[in-house]
Amino acid sequence: MNKNMPKQRVILRGTPASLGIVNGKVKIILDPKECKKMKKGEILVTEMTDPLYMPAIRRAKAIVTNIGGLLCHAAITSRELKIPCIVNTKKATKILKNGQKIIVYAIKGEIYEG
């Protein structure tokens, strides 16, 4: 077992798309018009991203999406920005809540309670 692996409870699983481990607060954005609500250092949680989400992505510490694969916009952008990313969680926007503290363990594609 990886020594960096969190000990908390896994609350969600997806596909790791950009490696890394961070903790932080959830910010759910479902409409690109709401990107300006994203604060620096929050974890962006969304259905999927596209270039419309860039203002929020630039402030995000990590990205978690409901859908997407290894070449989706969120995956490519996060690898470029070197921030962890988990895609294809299916239900992140439903399970996670705004302000909730989580650990994004994007080595295995797991999200833990923070």
């Binding site: 596909t15 790791p16 798309a17 950009s18 490696l19 479902l30 409409d31 690109p32 018009k33 990107c35 300006k36 270039p51 419309l52 860039m54 203002p55 859908i67 997407g68 694969g69 290894l70 070449l71 989706c72 916009h73 490519i76 952008t77 690898r79 470029e80 294809n88 080595i107 594609g109």
Partner: protein, 296 residues
């Protein structure tokens, strides 16, 4: 003298339209669902809701872009820059709709939203959608993605699962030197050259997406060119319709309201399909069609 179309009334002459067409603007009417909507061999369809309306890459384009990912990037970004320019034009034009009466304003905005969306389909989404089709080897990205997966399996004897890719596969994608060295030792010279060629191709597709984001957000604060152009037009359109619900045929208002609640991209798409357009007052639909005819 012929009756002016709705956008002619706010200064968009036939010469202006001709100029855009000469520069390569492609608009078609109506928006139709593709008959050969892209499906994979297993029958699974791509997840983008709007995608079945986006013009597909032709066989010739697919062949060309498999052979030359660089050409894909060039064509994609060239069209995207052109589309950005067109968006600026649409944005300037929509500001002129203020002086129109309610019915004319709704018609003009509907026409501009149509031009905005259809140009987006031909000059942006036509390429953009394909970047995420890595699981479909019959597409340019998918072709190269399959190659990298095969080479990975050759070395590690592990399959790259779509849901759970191995950590070192992700490291290859970011060109991690340590992993590449390991692969160099395990592959024949020819196969390692293939791996390098494949990674280069994948990088071109990834770079195209990075460049894309840069182009559409350049000079913008907290937004991008599409948000700045499309959303205000949609907002303005809905506000006008809220003030004048009589511009929608009796009984069709609930349908329109339902569309308004969707994601803006899906809203724009649904709004512009023939069954929805027919929900508007007949004169609006007539004038809208008259305007769009000029751009075909």
């Amino acid at each position: 003298m012929k009756d002016k179309t709705i956008l002619e009334k706010i200064g968009i002459s036939d010469e202006v339209v001709k100029k855009w067409k000469k520069e390569g603007l492609k608009i078609t009417y109506p928006i139709k669902q593709n008959l050969n909507w892209f499906k994979s061999a297993d029958g699974e369809v791509f997840w983008e809701n709007a995608d079945k309306f986006v013009p597909l890459l032709t066989k010739k384009e697919t062949k060309l872009y498999i052979k030359s990912p660089k050409r894909f990037r060039e064509d994609f970004l060239k069209n995207l820059r052109f589309y950005r320019k067109f968006c600026n034009f649409v944005d300037k034009t929509q500001k002129r709709t203020e002086k129109l009466k309610a019915e004319e304003k709704v018609t003009a905005l509907l026409s501009l939203i149509y031009l905005f969306q259809r140009a987006m389909d031909y000059h942006y989404y036509h390429w953009d959608r394909y970047i995420v089709y890595e699981e479909y080897p019959q597409t340019p990205v998918g072709y190269w993605w399959q190659k990298i997966k095969d080479l990975y399996t050759k070395v590690t004897k592990k399959k790259v699962l779509k849901q759970n890719p191995p950590e070192d596969f992700l490291r290859i994608l970011v060109l991690d030197k340590e992993i590449l060295e390991k692969f160099r030792k395990h592959l024949s010279k020819n196969n390692f050259l293939q791996l390098q060629k494949t990674l280069k191709a994948i990088k071109i597709f990834q770079d195209a997406q990075q460049k894309e984001a840069e182009i559409i957000t350049r000079g913008m604060v907290n937004a991008n060119i599409f948000v700045n152009t499309g959303f205000p037009m949609l907002d303005k359109f809905w506000k006008e319709l809220k003030k004048h619900p009589e511009l929608v045929k009796k009984g069709d208002l609930p349908k329109i309201k339902k569309i308004k609640k969707l994601h803006p991209i899906i809203t724009a798409r649904r709004l512009l399909l023939i069954p929805t357009l027919k929900c508007f007052d007949e004169e609006i639909f007539f004038q809208f069609k008259k305007e769009i005819q000029r751009w075909l």
